[in-house]
Point group: C2
Chain length 308, copies 2
């Protein structure tokens, strides 16, 4: 079904964070999070991603060891004297209602990385959610990536749309959620909104819809993937990044962007997102096995299958 | 793929209406609508449904002829001297935002039908959206239906929940949308909400989610069906009723409620809903062919297919 290859070439650029998460039933203080963290852990079930990011001295050594155990390439990870990027988010009873209560850039404020030489030759680059100007700056350092993907959040669409659109133009794949795609395109219909994105640069757009799954729109095809039916969302944080990690990690291992591969990639994305939300932070990835991933992939197949 | 059978046994009880529909781009005055109308037209592509309802003298003869052409059994349709049930609804830019502006019960106010003798032997009964006390009253007249399905709207959940729950208890299948199931169960999580419904009587619940498709929950299975990707929703009215018509019409033609049949039924439901919204009122059903239905069913299959 999937394979690990020796010649890895997938680089993830994004945040590593300490998050304070408040849900209607619990509060977790300064647990490990960040777009790059979730994405690389999810991707590590398919390939050996290389990461680019920065943490402070307060970032747990245990998580670094987890990265190492999962064979994530950490040569692009800077450790500074300052503090790690911090985010506090509160969720309502509806896990789609999220409020950012606090955001401290900390180590990320002055992060201007220089990529290790062999990172620059990456085939797949994922610009996870960070300041689009930083995404742009880092993207320039790659020599000839075959497949560039990006993610963003409302904050950047509202505050630095110009830079965001410049990065988007250079992307093959745009990951967004339903709110974000409507905000960028000013279209309420998701299909129309997705098609507008395809006019802005990318040849593929993945619109994540939380409990409703995701839509994949290409120039000539539409693929729909459901979310795993979950009656207990413990912590929705990182679902989108885990989706991207599963998607791109699988793509890297398959070494192809044929439609058939993209479809499977989207299902693996949804599978990895479904695990991420089962526990706080990155907890679920600590015990997750290849066999769990494979079983859920098969469950997804069953969930949508019907005969002609 | 599907078959027409001679021994029909599917009765639909619901409204036949004149609707004034206002969308952001158009206004249509007093066009034909109603839950029974949409449902029976959709079902007529699979079987020959029998309908129970009432219209006034102002109901277009042309629509009666369309029913006859589609081989819908009209012996349970009363024509009174009064006026046809009237509804005025306005849609926002987001087609899920609907406001009821006017509602006149008219002929439905005193509707207490006595069913034709052979209607009473129906195998499948669909209690489409009407006053749950009327649903209850009519349901009593059936001798031994094998499969009873119902639909409702927020109005009855808010204003006559007691009667609604009594009908629900006697149902095998409950059709609802995401808002309604949350309102009845007070659960925000759709899977939890669906499971609660399964404790209230039905052995199956279909949660319709508009552009996000539908979830089918049984005691031992979950099936997810997408909506047809549509970039131009002309008029969302009747989508839910058309879903039920496709679902139950197919079930009646297949004469089985095996899981495999229920899955296909849900896809046919989604297919028929996707046609309903392509034009105002029942317009789309006038030109629709069996071949169109079959083609879209196959497109649905393609949209969700991926290989292990």
């Amino acid at each position: 079904m999937r394979q690990r290859v020796l010649d890895m070439s997938f680089v993830i650029v994004g945040s590593l964070a300490l998050d304070t998460i408040v849900t209607p039933s619990e509060r977790k203080e300064r647990i490990v999070g960040g777009s790059c963290t979730y994405c690389s852990l999810a991707a590590s079930f398919f390939t050996h991603p290389k990461i680019v990011g920065v943490v402070g001295k307060d970032f747990p050594q245990q998580t670094i060891q987890l990265f190492e155990k999962r064979k994530i390439d950490l040569r692009g990870l800077e450790v500074t004297d300052g503090k790690t990027f911090f985010w506090e988010g509160h969720y309502g009873c509806d896990p789609n209602q999220r409020t950012t209560v606090k955001l401290e850039m900390n180590a990320f404020a002055d992060f201007r990385p220089t990529l290790p030489a062999d990172y620059k030759k990456a085939d797949i680059v994922f610009l996870a959610n960070i300041d689009p100007e930083l995404q742009e700056n880092i993207l320039r350092q790659f020599q000839n990536p075959k497949w560039v993907a990006m993610d963003t959040i409302n904050h950047w669409i509202e505050n630095n749309k110009a830079a965001l659109l410049r990065v988007l133009e250079k992307c093959n794949l745009f990951f967004c959620n339903d709110e974000e795609v409507k905000l960028i395109t000013q279209e309420v219909n998701l299909i129309k909104a997705g098609k507008r994105i395809l006019e802005m640069g990318p040849s593929l757009v993945v619109i994540k819809k939380g409990e409703h799954g995701a839509l994949v729109l290409g120039k000539n095809f539409v693929f729909g993937v459901l979310a795993h039916p979950c009656d207990e969302v413990v912590d929705p944080t990182g679902a989108g990044d885990s989706f991207a990690g599963g998607f791109l990690g699988y793509l890297d291992s398959a070494r192809s962007t044929r439609q058939e591969v993209l479809r499977r990639a989207a299902v693996f994305g949804s599978v990895m997102a479904s695990f991420a939300i089962e526990d706080f932070g990155i907890e679920r990835f600590k015990s997750l096995t290849d066999s769990d991933v494979r079983k859920r992939f098969i469950a997804f197949k069953k969930m949508v299958s019907f005969k002609l």
